[in-house]
Amino acid sequence: MALLSKTITAFGGLLLAHACYSAREHTTLLSLRAATAATLTSSPTVAASLPLDIIIETIISTFIILVGLVLGTRPLRPIEWRVWAGKIEREGEEGFTDNSGAVDRDFVGNPFSLLESRPNFVDIRKQRKEFADWIQKGDSLQAQ
């Protein structure tokens, strides 16, 4: 996604630079022409006489750069607490990366993680059973 937005922005930037250069050449040409014909007439302004294709190219290149920049913004985060917490539960930290794949620096994580791993809430019988199963499995492996 970052590559796509950068490509689009760069392409629009090229078009805009081309339009800028064309407009500059056009006004230079007009002023040169006016300077050589200065004895005949005096043309004060050369404003609003850009050719149509330069105008169209400027507007379209601006639009392309705009699309590229909007695509390059980071994804927004939900502000309702329940939606945000649900997103953390489902996607973990992958839902909060910026465009290059690194996790955002101000990502808080599960706000209740400290509560969920308290020692008072450890299920000791389940852990004993698991340990016993593991020992049995180890004995059967050794006996083979």
């Binding site: 006004t27 601006t62 705009l66 927004l76 502000i79």
Partner: protein, 118 residues
């Protein structure tokens, strides 16, 4: 329902609010400078220049809505043109960046007007 009661029923995540508003204002400052380049190249004068700024800023907001807000917001059942999933006030979303980017716009506008028009 008063706001405090609403906030107790469905609280707001402050970190997300800050992240979203920071993203939006960065984008709007950046694109305001870009629009100034375009206005300078086109050689626009007073009223038409500011009109271009307004039109393009609204276009930016529409694009941000279409590309960043709408896919997840519509699929979670919100009505169209509703930004309440990501932003607290729709007025701030649609028109908040205007004052923010105006200075950058005028800066690049006068710069490129001078450069292109000699």
């Amino acid at each position: 329902m008063s706001t405090e009661r609403e906030l107790q029923i469905s609280p707001i995540v402050q970190e997300s609010v800050m992240h979203n508003s920071r993203t939006l204002s960065n984008l709007q400052s950046l694109t305001a400078s870009l629009f100034g380049v375009s206005a300078g190249i086109l050689g626009l004068e007073s009223y038409s220049g500011f009109l271009l700024y307004l039109v393009f800023s609204l276009l930016t907001a529409v694009l941000v809505y279409l590309l960043r807000v709408a896919p997840t917001s519509l699929s979670s059942g919100k009505p169209p043109l509703d930004t309440s999933r990501y932003f607290r006030s729709p007025f701030d979303f649609w028109t908040g960046g205007l004052m923010n980017g105006l200075a950058g716009y005028i800066l690049t506008w006068t710069l490129f007007y001078g450069m292109v028009r000699a």
